[in-house]
Amino acid sequence: MNQKKIILEIKDLCGGIEGKDILNGVNLKVYEGEIHALMGRNGSGKSTLSKMIAGHPEYTITSGEIIFRNKDLTQLDPEERSNIGVFLGFQYPIEIPGVKNIDFLRVAVNERRKILQKSELDTFEFEEWIEEKLKIVKMDKDFLERGVNEGFSGGEKKRNEILQMALLEPEVSILDETDSGLDIDALRIVAAGINKLHSNESATILITHYQRLLNEIKPDFVHIMKNGEIIKTGGKELAIELEQKGYETFQNPFNESKE
């Protein structure tokens, strides 16, 4: 068997928003073919980490590194990060009224295809191509004619995120609470989609509060975040333990005094 290659490495990442420190030295290595689950209480820094990886301009990195395929991501604009294969599934997908979903998706796909040195898809080619992808998330074609996320229900928004993931074929996907606000049927559809899109060449990071998503998608690693750090890493069983005992039990072994 070939040795697995590293896709994403986060080293001692510190920083925050509006002068407030949120991350206090996050370390994470993600290899090809892996699924990681990132768990933790609200405010522990999970979403901040995802936004820093995607390059949200309001977040400032004070120190540390984010390396994607040997490239320093922190030097790239958000659009460049997406184009080279980094995907963030939003916890709260944004509505863009007036911009037709299909137009938006086609522009996004063609930007990615430029980097992959594939030919641009015209309107007709794109319509044909997207049909297969719609099946992955069981979405109706009508969604494509509406404004981006405009008036979508919570579940529809999340499925639209996974549709984008399917279209952009990223190498690393960070899915921020994709399971929140979903009923059990929608959760299954979304989880099945994520499983289908996962491959040996790509990696997935699931940010979640709940064990139930991890029943559908089996993570290789579970990390617990607290106070802007990953304080414990384990296998799937860690999530079960967490569900039973709650976050209180888990302390940073190096930082007990803080609590």
């Binding site: 604009d77 958000p78 939003f90 863009i96 009224p97 007036g98 522009v107 996004a108 984008q164 952009l168």
Partner: protein, 480 residues
């Protein structure tokens, strides 16, 4: 990066029509008085009735006050410090395009309005106006085959004085408002269109207005008459060089549609808007009005207003004929310190008259964008209907958007619907699009285009994409 910097970076733009053509022009002395008006009239070899028209207008104007209700906040204009007539030297003698100063032809080439036979757009006839005079009108002969008259208003005064006399000042009376009165006194040139009975104008007509002199006001006058069962689509475009002083532009446009006639009038206004700090730019005070005189007639205004430091403009429809229709579709984009106060008036007089108003205002920078509109339903307008929709889009935190709809109805059997919304391009929306590989600039363009789609759909095909790219250009930092 701070919250605003990404947005404002994108909004920095260069005005690509800001060049000045070096040309000798003939100007009359500064200021306005009866002698100046007589001099303009004499220069244009006008008949008596027109001189009378001008002098009457001047008398009215002197008694009128500049309107201040629009809250535009500009320093007083010194009307004695403006030159009211400026023409490229020797222009009066030119009969054919070959004789026109190549500098001027090149200017229009540069503006993307080639006047030379070989380079022209094949389906658009153009009247090109440079400062106070019309330089050339293309496809005149071809249009004449169908009886369509398309020429400068000066030429119309000479060739078709009866038509001019019959219609000039009938839709916008000389004392209508301060700026209309001023225009009536000193108007220099503009376009004239006459579509005979039953004729569907075979091509798009357009006028292109270029202000070149810094100290000259432009006062153009446009008159379009559509006889019974005729139709025409007309487009005007406007640009000016960059000066650090303000130039006054006060135009009057009158449209008349008789029974079953339809006029579609589209404007892409891109006068120089002044710099980032609001220095320089055109003061655009325009009166545009159409009269749906005939039964089942239709007048449709569409406008894309992106230029001028101040825009004060309310293209209106008087819906007099039974079953006549008025439409107003507007996109107004303001940036930096620009001020736009624009909208429409729909005056329902006849039975079963209908009007539609769709207004999209986009404000960025420290600009102020106001929709001001009036829907009036008269006591005899049984069955009249109006639908209005006014949407504002804010970009950044310092721009202002206002909506002032005035609705009056004197007829109980009528129906007025009004919808309004204000939204904002947020940093989160931008980040969302960017995180899908779409650049900042493209993301803003996409959102602005999406916001304007309802209006762009109403523009003539040839110009819809032009308008789209014009907005893109206004919002892009890299394209110059």
């Amino acid at each position: 990066m701070t919250k605003n910097s990404t947005v404002s970076k994108v909004l920095e733009k260069e005005y690509k029509y800001g060049f000045l053509t070096q040309i000798e022009s003939e100007k009359i002395p500064k200021g306005i008085n009866e002698d100046i008006i007589r001099l303009i009239s004499k220069k244009k070899k006008e008949p008596e009735f027109l001189l009378d028209f001008r002098l009457k207008a001047y008398k009215q104007w002197k008694m009128m006050d500049e309107p201040k209700w629009a809250d535009l906040n500009y320093p007083d204009i010194d009307y004695q410090d403006i030159i009211y007539y400026s023409a490229p030297k020797g222009i009066e003698k030119k009969k054919s395009l070959d004789e026109v100063d190549p500098e001027i032809l090149e200017t229009f080439d540069k503006l993307g309005i080639p006047l030379n036979e070989q380079k022209r757009l094949s389906n658009v006839a153009v009247d090109a106006v440079f400062d106070s005079v019309s330089i050339a009108t293309t496809f005149k002969e071809k249009l004449a085959e169908d009886g369509v008259i398309f020429c400068s208003i000066s030429e119309a005064v000479e060739e078709y004085p009866d038509l001019v006399k019959q219609y000039l000042g009938k839709v916008v009376p000389i004392n209508d408002n301060f700026f209309a009165a001023l225009n009536s006194a000193v108007f220099s040139d503009g376009s004239f269109v006459y579509i005979p009975k039953g004729v569907e104008c075979p091509m798009e007509l357009s006028s292109y207005f270029r202000i070149n002199s810094g100290d000259t006001g432009q006062f153009e006058r446009t008159l379009i008459i559509a006889e019974e069962r005729s139709s025409v689509s007309y487009l005007e475009g406007c640009t000016a060089p960059m000066f650090d002083t303000n130039t006054l532009h006060a135009a009057v446009v009158e449209l008349i549609a008789l029974d079953d006639a339809s006029i579609k009038y589209s404007t892409v206004q891109n006068w120089y808007a002044g710099d980032k700090n609001g220095v320089g730019g055109i003061y655009n005070f325009v009166t545009k009005r159409g009269q749906c005189k005939g039964k089942r007639s239709k007048i449709s205004w569409s406008q894309v207003e992106t230029g001028s430091s101040i825009t004060w403009k309310y293209p209106s429809c008087i819906l007099q004929g039974e079953d006549s229709t008025g439409e107003f579709y507007s996109v107004a984009l303001t940036n930096n310190k620009q001020i736009a106060d624009t909208g429409t008036k729909m005056i329902h007089i006849g039975k079963n008259t209908k009007s539609t108003i769709i207004s999209k205002g986009i404000s960025a920078g420290h600009s102020k964008n106001t929709y001001r509109g009036k829907v009036h339903i008269g006591s005899k307008a049984i069955g009249a209907k109006n639908y209005s929709q006014c949407d504002s889009l804010l970009i950044g935190d310092d721009a202002e958007a206002n909506t002032y709809p005035y609705l009056h109805s004197k007829q109980i059997k009528s129906n007025i619907e009004h919808e309004a919304s204000t939204s904002k391009i947020s940093e989160d929306q931008l980040f969302y699009l960017r995180s899908r590989g779409i650049s900042n600039e493209e993301a803003i363009s996409m959102m602005v285009s999406g916001f304007c789609r309802d209006v762009f759909n109403e523009l003539p095909m040839e110009f819809a994409s032009e308008a789209d790219s014009l907005l893109g250009l206004k919002l892009e930092g890299t394209v110059g």
